[in-house]
Amino acid sequence: MRILIIEDEAPLLERVAAQLRAQGYAVDTAANGRDGLYCGQEYPLDAAVVDLGLPDLSGIDVIRRWRSGGQRFPVLILTARGRWQDKVEGLEAGADDYLVKPFHMEELQARLRALIRRTGGWTQAVLCCGPVALDTGAQQLTLEGQVVELTAYEYKLLEYLMLRAGTVVSKTELTEHLYEEDADRDSNVLEVLVGRLRRKLDPGRDLNPIETLRGRGYRFRLERSNA
């Protein structure tokens, strides 16, 4: 999942970015409104965390411009002002949720996960497709109730595919959403990862949860059991 954080307080920006990276997110950062606006317009984001009190271009303006430009990714606003008037203003501008500073990192992560899930049409924290259940809170995969160990990248890949279960996801899209902008990208790595996931999810070779559509990408083909 690719996240943009716009925050002018450098220590807070670094801390949030580091913690989200540790959670497996690909994180882009911007220290002011103008850079953040550009990133939101140019990068394929899954969500954005926007501080409202930015020095040059306010967070509200950034969100308004994204929305008027057609950007639909979910936005979580961070505000030091806890008044409802400010929250309502941010939500009316196009944000999807708010968090008042100071906040717990766990709270921020939970809100982000919920927003990203909502975009994929999921309302539960556990994504269930047949015998496969992915707990996005605990970042844990179970297959028919048995815990399956995943590496960080395997988890990221599976989460992205399951959130879009039933739809085709191209390799380019996967690369753009799983890696940060300046990361070294190698599509062969994706194929290796998909191969490893298939072996873990379908040890008996009878489920075929991830199908390859030649020249188009991958599709998680197991039907959603809850939404």
Partner: protein, 457 residues
Amino acid sequence: MRSLSGRLLTAASVVLAAFLGLTGLSLDQAFRDSLQAAVQDRLQAQVYMLLGAAELDGLGRLTLPQALPEARFSTPDSGLYADVMDGQGALIWHSPSLLGLALPFFPALRNPGETAFAPLDSSDGTPLFVLAFTVNWEVAPNQYRLLTFRVAEAQWNYRDQLWSFRRGLWGWLLGATVVLLAVQGMILRWSLKPLRRVAAEVTDIEAGRRAGLSSDYPEELQPLTTNLNALLGHSRAHLERYRHALADLAHSLKTPLAVLRGTLDNGASSAELRQILGEQVERMNRTVDYQLQRAAASGRIALSAPLPVTPVARKILDSLAKVYAERAPCLRCEIDPATVFYGDEGDLMEILGNLADNACKWCQRQVVVRAHPADHGGRRELVIEVEDDGPGIPEGQAPLLLGRGQRADPSVAGHGIGLAVVRDLVEEVYYGRLDIDRSTLGGARVRARLRFQANGD
């Protein structure tokens, strides 16, 4: 012109001067007309007298006696003159008083019985009133001769009377103007006295010698003074709230700071330090949040326009629908569009936002927001109710949740500081009451009664 009394006095002076000036001119004109009419009547009588005295001699010539009934005709330069002309304008007779003088040219009258009257100058420049009267004189049976009798009077007497009248008239008018202006000035001074008192009292308020304006002002100034007092009260209350919030903030922060200091001094272990630090930071955060939100309440604004409640409630519910999109509660707004709130929009948002947010947190499926006006002993109220179908609040817990009797500790698990902020807003800023009971939906019902005065402030 910056002075009110200057403006009023100037306007009154101009109107008074115009009125008295026009009155004087009218009276002058009327007196002049009546004087001239009297002169004309007098001259006409003299003409009749001359007609009565005139006779024809044996040669058919017109003669008048040497001694006329009016002695002034016989005295040269007496100021009263007469002559007679025939139909061709030839002079037939003139009075002895006209010796050495000639009456001015006067168009010959052609028709018998015709009269003409005009102010004209004599041959030596003396201003005169001249009256001419034409008769058809029978000089022989069935033989008539057209004669014009002219009588003139010098204007000396007329002018004396006119000037005497004018002196009297304008003197009185001027006197009346001075007296009226003086009275006007006194009335203005008396009428504007309350305004000067307002200014003096405002100066006293600025200097800290008094708290507000007196209440015994004339009814025209009552709305101004009442609203000024309300404005003063509002800003004083605002200041007080800031002061209290700061004092409470300082007081509430010192306790966790003392705990931290004590922990440091005691040489606590790293894990212990971490735990205590986390607890105290959280405590300080809640305190700062609560006190700042409390201080930010604007309160009832004097002269505030009525604010429709429905659009504000809709904004809040739309925002909450986004925030709680996963649970997708059914948020209903049952407010008459005519329902209004007299106060700051931010305060109303704070009350509705916190109550509806709590209801969304606890509801199973339904949240209803209602608002309606009510009357409470002659004072207008706005009653806001927020209900949910959650677990509700056990009896006896409500006073604890509302933190009655507590000063600055809003920490009630699950409800955050929202309810405490709403309680302070409702009870301290809007002098109302916040109550919690059970909703017919099954959960909690929080009712806020906000009170306004009759004029809305």
